[in-house]
Every structure is written in C-alpha cells, then in structure tokens.
C-alpha cells in the first residue's frame, strides 16, 4: 500500500507536469488538411475589395483585415506560407490619405469616420502622410489594386507615376509596381502562386452605378481606350480579359478561387436613401404642386399632339400629397420635349435607387435665398444622384453577363467559386453566422447595436473589417468544398466595425 501511494503520487505529479493536452491538439501539424490545394504561396488578385479598402480608402489598420490577409492567417493552419501586403508603414496617423510631392492628392483623402458631434460620416480631419512618389517596387501576395477594372490588371503603365497626370495610372499600383510599365497580373504571377483568389469586375459596372448612371453602357464596343471612367465595360471584353487573367494565374498549375459580382441592390450605397424621403403636410404639398402645374399641363399638351403616350404622362406628372413623397428627378431616358420647353422630370419610384451621398442634398436649398428651391422638390435631383430603373437594368445585364463568364471560365479551369453575389443577397435579409449573430447590409445607423453588427464601411460600397471577415469566411467555405481542405473559418464578431470620434 505504501508503495502504491508513492506510485500514485508520482503518477499524479507526472500527469500534472504537462498542460492539459487534447487528444487532437489543433496546433499539431497535420491536424488540418489543404486537400488537393496547396496554400504555400497564396496570391490575391483583384480590386479595392481584395486590397482591404474601407471607409473610402486603404489605411494601415484596416488593411490588416483585408479578406486575403484574414484568409492567409487561416491558410497557415493548412500549409499556408507568409502573406505580404503593400506597405502602409508610412500611413503614420492611420488615415489612408495620399500626398503627391507633398500635397494632398485630390480624390484620395483620409478615411471616413463618424463625427459624434455632427452625427454623420466625415473624412478624418488629419493630414495624410503617405507620399506617392516613395515607390516600393515590390510584388506582394496581396495584389488588390483599388479602382481597377478587369482590363486594368493587364494594362502596361497602370503603375507608372508619369501617367498619373493623364489619368492612365492608379496611385495604389504606382506605389508598389515593380517597374513603371509592368502590369498587375505580371507582378502577381512573378510570385509563382500555388493558390490564388481572383475577384475582379466590380468596378466594370460599379463606377457607372455609383455615378448614378452618368457614364455610358459600352456593351458592344470592345475598344477600352475609348471608355470613360464611369462607363460599363463591354461583357465580351470582360470575358476575354477574365479568361486571360485566369490563364496567367493557372499557367503553372496553381489552383484557386474566383468570385461572382454582387448586385447593386445589395450595397447600402444604393439602398440606404429611400425613393420617398420627403414628408409633407397638405398645405406644403399644395404649394409644391403649384410650382409644377405648368409642367403637368405641358405634358397633357404633348400627349394631345402624340409626342408621348398617356402612360408617360402618368409617369412624368408631378403630384405631391400629404405624407411621404418621392423626390423629383431628372431622367435622361424620358422622351425629350425640349421643343415644348418641357424638361425631363418625373417623380422617383420604388424602382429607382438614390445614391448614398444624395442624403446630404435632399431637403437642402439649392438657392439659400429661395425657400422654394428645395433639392428633390422644387429643384429636381440631377442624373448623378439617381440610378434609374433603366440604368439599373443596364448594370444588371452587364453583371449577369460577367457572372456567366466567371462561372464558365471557373468550370473550364475547375476552380472554386465564392458566390459573393449570393452571400450579399443573403445579407439583405440577414446572414446568420455560426455564433448566432445576424448581420445585414444596413448602413451604420448610430445605434449601439450597429456598433457591434454593421458590416459595411462608411463609404457604403465596401465592407468594413467585420464585413471582410464574412467575405473571408465565404471564400474559405467555397475553397474547402472544392478542394477537400478544412481551413478554419472566421468569426466576424471579433473584427472592428465603424470608427466613431467625439469631434472631428
């Protein structure tokens, strides 16, 4: 018995000497598999969504939560190697703004924050510190270039600082292009990826959409050199370009994941401002109607002369009433009646999308001295504030064609597909994550709940860090399903959302 007790004591001490060990410790090598994929050199190719762009720019702390960077952390469990991103060490105050030769670069200001004293988003009021002309000349694993359209990834000179002044270069790529005339895809391929992600094409429709359809739908025109910034890329150009990008990335046998393009109606930039944001009482409505009596009368005249149909008369008639009223907009797609002195006005409908910045315009006075000049009532909203139903259709047609191309090319090359179009559609009604939280695509509404659950950044187009975690999780699910890997998932709830400052 004495010996037994001694033995028991020694046994107890021996058992205790080590930390409690699991039967299958997850940090033991071989506990996770990469399946038929090889994550040792992962290269991410794409646009702002790949770069970690949020709140209107890329800034140092936000970039850490780019979806490829989050994915790379999880790939590390299954053989993933180091993952590099363009350096933002020079973003000293974490603001994300660019300088060119010491001066702020227009259009590339600081990140958006909520100013609690004003209650709305504003660019962070600090001076940018990142000097564009200090070139990094390095190919990084994260080759996401904010603003890039599909064909930009293969465009020589897109990273040439000399081309900035003529609008043919992209400041983000300028910062890290390995040589002035190298292409994004060449720098990406130079890393010899064993695995890649490709999410491109959003800007081929999005700049048209965010500009309220101010550009042109170039469907049928393959000459990209003739395109304006806000134009819709020709779907056949897109398909050709996409195919070339995938060819380049798979040339050495790399496996990868591509992603579909979401619809504009799943982005808060287009869903936050309702078409009928103007409350009126009966006298106000009567007063506002008075200003359009002549226009409405002119429409009857035009119809009597057979210039427009009765249904267009109904569509264009401006009629306010007590309650919530639709804004008055300019719609270029209406029948021109300039001969009668009639402008292209109509009231917005539920099928039109008002862009997010219109919230700062609607209800304000176009002429501060004229109380009748309320924007959206007395003064119709210009084309750039509204994506009309017709314009939405152009965007949808292109998007459908792009996604068909993406799916066909992915099938041909046997690649995984992250169906981000569907993920973002689910977000519209509410996406439930494994921990039980429910996320939506709502814009930050200032509530304390929204601090924990908002997944879109203040620019209304890009996810915030929490949203990118959801994106990374969706990509990982698609990769695991395709390649038989079991890369761990991502918990969005641990990632930050909106930045609120007391004053700005």
């Amino acid at each position: 018995m004495k010996n037994n007790i001694k033995y028991l004591a020694i046994l107890a001490l021996g058992l205790f000497a080590c930390e409690p060990e699991f039967d299958n410790p997850i940090d033991e090598s071989g506990e996770y598999t990469s399946g038929s994929a090889d994550f040792s050199t992962y290269v991410a190719v794409g646009n702002s969504l790949t770069a970690g762009f949020m709140d209107g720019t890329v800034f140092r702390s936000g970039q850490q939560n780019s979806f490829p960077n989050i994915m790379a952390e999880k790939f590390a469990f299954a053989g993933g190697g180091t993952f590099t991103q363009p350096s933002y060490d020079d973003d000293v105050n974490d603001s994300g703004g660019f300088l060119l030769s010491g001066n702020p670069l227009p259009g590339f200001g600081t990140r958006l924050v909520i100013d609690a004293s004003q209650g709305g988003p504003e660019p962070l009021n600090v001076s940018p510190t990142m000097e564009l002309s200090s070139l990094q000349a390095t190919a990084y694993n994260n080759m996401g270039v904010p603003g890039a359209k599909s064909f930009h990834l293969g465009a020589p000179g897109y990273g040439n600082i000399a081309n900035l002044s003529v609008g043919a270069a992209n400041p983000y790529f300028v910062r890290h292009a390995t040589s002035p005339n190298i292409t994004v895809i060449e720098d990406a391929v130079s890393l010899n990826p064993t695995f890649f992600s490709l999410w491109i094409g959003n800007n081929d429709i999005l700049s048209y959409a965010t500009s309220g359809g101010a550009g042109t739908d170039q469907t049928g025109n393959p000459n990209v050199l003739s395109y304006g910034f806000n134009d819709i890329t020709d779907p056949s150009v897109f398909a050709f370009t996409y195919s070339a990008l995938v060819d380049a990335l798979t040339a050495n046998g790399a496996k990868g994941v591509v992603a579909t393009l979401p619809d504009v109606t799943s982005i808060p930039y287009f869903t936050t401002v309702p078409y009928n944001p103007i409350p009126m009482d009966a006298p106000t409505a009567a007063f506002a109607n008075g200003a359009y009596a002549q226009y409405n009368g002119g429409l009857q005249l035009a119809a009597a002369n057979g210039l427009i149909t009765a249904s267009e008369v109904a569509q264009r008639t401006i009629q306010f009433s007590a309650g919530q009223n639709a804004v008055v907009i300019v719609d270029e797609d209406l029948t021109p009646l300039a001969g009668l002195g009639l402008p292209n006005y109509r009231m917005a409908t539920v099928n039109d999308l008002l862009v997010l910045p219109s919230s700062g315009i609607i209800g304000t006075l176009a002429d501060p001295s004229n109380p009748a000049s309320i924007n959206g009532v007395g003064v119709p909203l210009a084309d750039n504030w509204v994506l009309t139903a017709t314009e939405i259709q152009s965007v949808r047609n292109a998007r459908t064609a792009y996604n068909n191309a993406i799916l066909a090319i992915a099938a041909d090359k046997d690649l995984a597909v992250a169906d981000m179009a569907t993920t973002l559609e689910v977000l519209v009604s509410g996406l439930r994550t494994a921990d039980g939280q429910i996320y939506t695509n709502n814009y930050f509404d200032g509530s304390s709940d929204a601090i924990s659950t908002t997944v879109f950044s203040l620019d209304g187009v890009h996810p915030n860090s929490r949203g990118y975690a959801i994106v990374a999780d969706s990509f990982i699910k698609a990769i695991n399903a395709k390649y038989g890997s079991d890369v761990p998932g991502v918990t969005a709830g641990y990632y930050p959302g909106v930045t609120v400052v007391p004053t700005n």
């Binding site: 205790f16 930390e19 999880k74 924990s452 998932g489 959302g497 400052v501």
Partner: protein, 417 residues
C-alpha cells in the same frame, strides 16, 4: 490502484463530464488524503468542518489542526472549426484551514473553525477569443465558524454553529467582442470588491451504533454574497473617446451564492489499524441562477445566466496506521459538475472530475503530528459552449473543447493535549 484508475477513467468518460463550480474541497489534510471524506470520521479537529458533532468524541482536552495547500490548475481551450486555442495559466490558489476544539466537560465541546471552501482563480490570456466572457477572475471567501458540540449519549451527538463569511471578488472582461479604443486596445471592465460580509450556519449529527461504526450527517447553509452599492469599484478601461463619457468608473451591485451542502456518510474500522469512510455530498448549486452585475452607467445591467443544477460528490477513503509514527491515507472521489450543457462559461471551466488523493501523518510525539496530502483532479476533454452572451439582442454561442486538470499539495500540523 493503477488498474482502478484506468477502469474509472474509462467508465466515466462514457458519460457527460462536468463538475465542481467554484467549490474548493481542501478542508483538512487528514480528510483530504482520504478522498475528502469525514462526516463520519473522528480523528482530529478537522471535524469542526466535516461534522461539528464529532468534536465531542475526540481524544484529549484540546485539539488543533492547521494547514495550507497550493492549488495548481490549468485549463486548455480549443475550437477546431475556427482554429482557436488558449490556455488558462491560473495563478496558484492557496486554501488554508485552522481548527481548534476544546473539551469543556464530558458532554460539551467548543471550537473555532476558519477555512476557505470557495474560491476560483482563472486567468485566460488577455483578449483571448472568450475575453467577452472573462479575461481573469479571482474569487475568495474566508469562513469563520464558532462551534459547539453536545454529546447526547455515547452513541449520539449533535453540533453546529454560525458562520461568518468575508469574501472578495476581482473580475475582468472585455465589454464586447470587438470594441477598442483609438489605438486598438480592447475596451474592458474590472469589478473589484473585498470585505463582503455574510452569515450562514452549519449543523451536524453523529451516530455511533458500535465502537467500530459511525454514521454522520452535516448541513451547511447557503450564503449569499451580496455586493451593495459602495462596496466595490467598477473600472472601465480603453473606451474610445466618443463612448468614454457614457462609461465613467463607479460602483456596482452583484450577488453570488455560496450554495448549501448536505453530506451523509459512514465509517468503519475493519481492523484495529484500518479505517474506511464513505461520504455522499449533495451541493445545492441550483441557487446559482444568474450572475447579474448592475452598473450605474451606460453599461447598465449585465445578465449572465448560469442555471446551475444540484450536483453530487461520491467519496471513498481509507487510512492505515502503518507504524506508531506513520499513518498513511488514500482516497478517491467523483465530483459531478453543476454546469448544464450550453452554460459552460470559461470563468468557471470545471467539468466532471475524477479525483485521486493520498497523504500521511507523521507523529513527532504524542502531541504533535505533521499532516500532508496531495490531490490530483482529472477531467476528460469535453465539448461544450456558453450560449447566453447577448450582442445586439442576439444570444451568441462561444464554445469548443475544454480540458482541465489540477494538482493540490499541502502540509499542516495537528496538536493534541
């Protein structure tokens, strides 16, 4: 013994495994070494805790037992689905006891007991994945119990006394899963209170039908430790400047029950040198429904449902007087967790455990003895979660695999006059 260990481990791994709450069963080295039995054992002043009724049957006019132990405990956490892994490196806990019993006359004894039956020290890595539930916690409570025991006959005695408790708590956790200040440091709160007082009582009875056979009963009442306004501080750290004005430091109120415990047991002496004891303890953990902390700023009421269930401890122990000077002891107990599925919060990560004890007494002379014991607490790996953390109105789950073990080793002295 080794064979027994294997058999028990396998047998218990088949059932769901939880245990213990924040109870620390180290109330005397003689009795701990015997599997923490003692309700029907009359050996030393340790009876003041295990069953005050036994004090009147002690040999000698004055009995004193003093001792302390070191509790080394560890818990590992991992979640395979998300690749999370953490280890709680808990600071060493130091339960102690001091018992004294004085025989006033043949039928009346008086005593004083000071002991620490509840406590918890859990320290997860700061900002780990469960940091919205707990970063670290330290609970302690000192029980001071004046005791009397009355011998009704040579076969029956009763005993008991009031219990005065002085407790302390220090608990830190992050305010949410993602909130940080401008530098990225996580927003968190520490509540701290000490000198929290409460009263309870203990009663016991002992029946000795023969010289070699004892039956005992002991009940210790529930004691609610209430932190009132002004008793403690709530310290909010690392809030972003925009939210900081809503979260000034201040006080808080909270309540933590120390549950009632009922123990029944028997001991017998199969031979002159041997003593075998069995105890069954029921702990009324259902008193622990929720850990609610009321703050007096924007943090408001923090509700943390616990919904514990009553649990049992099954104990067996033996002692053998090997020589005049040396008595050796060993024991085993199975400790059921009071934690229900879905309520496994990492601030009290205690699943069911199987516990192995051993120890000895060495008699220096007829008055003084040294007592020592070791306890090894083993828990099987479990998969469980806490499903009642609320974020933006939604109940969230936090779970994974947990594995715990603990080693307790201690030494004390006994004096008998």
């Amino acid at each position: 013994m080794k064979k027994l260990l294997l058999v028990l481990t396998i047998a218990f791994s088949a059932s769901v495994m939880y245990a213990g709450g924040y109870r620390v069963g180290v109330q005397g080295h003689k009795q701990l070494a015997m599997g923490h039995t003692g309700v029907a054992v009359v050996t030393s002043a340790e009876s003041a805790f295990f069953n005050p009724a036994g004090l009147v049957y002690l040999d000698g006019k004055l009995n004193v037992s003093l001792g302390a132990a070191a509790v080394l405990s560890n818990t590992s956490y991992q979640n395979r689905e998300f690749g999370y892994k953490s280890e709680a490196d808990n600071p060493v806990g130091t339960p102690f006891y001091a018992y004294g019993a004085y025989k006033i006359n043949d039928w009346l004894s008086a005593g004083l007991a000071v002991y620490t039956p509840y406590g918890s020290r859990v320290e997860w890595p700061t900002d780990w994945e469960g940091s919205h539930l707990v970063n670290n916690i330290e609970l302690s409570a000192i029980f001071i119990q004046p005791t009397i025991a009355i011998k009704i006959s040579e076969k029956l005695s009763v005993g008991g006394g009031p219990i005065y408790v002085s407790g302390a708590v220090n608990f830190n956790r992050n305010l949410s899963r993602s909130l940080t200040d401008e530098t990225g440091a996580r927003s968190n709160v520490t509540i701290d209170a000490s000198g929290i007082n409460a009263w309870g009582y203990t009663v016991g009875a002992m029946f000795r039908p023969t010289e070699d056979f004892n039956i005992g009963f002991n009940y210790r009442s529930k004691i609610d430790m209430n932190v009132e306004r002004g008793d403690g501080t709530a310290d909010f750290e690392n809030l972003p400047a925009a939210l900081a004005p809503g979260f000034p430091d201040g006080d808080f109120t909270a309540s933590l029950p120390l549950p009632a415990e009922l123990t029944l047991g028997a001991s017998f002496k199969p031979s002159e040198k041997w003593l075998v004891a069995f105890d069954y303890t029921r702990t009324f953990w259902d008193a622990y429904e929720s850990l609610d902390v009321q703050f007096f700023n924007s943090a408001g009421l923090s509700r943390n449902p616990r919904n514990y269930k009553n649990s049992s401890i099954y104990k067996i122990g033996a002692q053998y007087e090997a020589t005049q000077k040396v008595t050796v002891r060993a024991g085993f107990y199975f400790d059921e967790s009071p934690i229900r599925d879905g309520f496994f919060a990492p601030e009290t990560p205690r699943p069911d455990s199987v516990n192995f004890t051993a120890g000895f007494s060495y008699n220096l002379n007829s008055k003084w003895a040294i007592d020592a014991s070791v306890l090894y607490v083993h828990s099987n790996e479990i998969q469980n979660s806490y499903d009642y953390f609320r974020e933006a109105g939604q109940p969230l789950t936090f779970g994974g695999e947990y594995k715990s073990n603990a080693l307790v080793a201690g030494i004390g002295v006994s004096y008998k006059l």
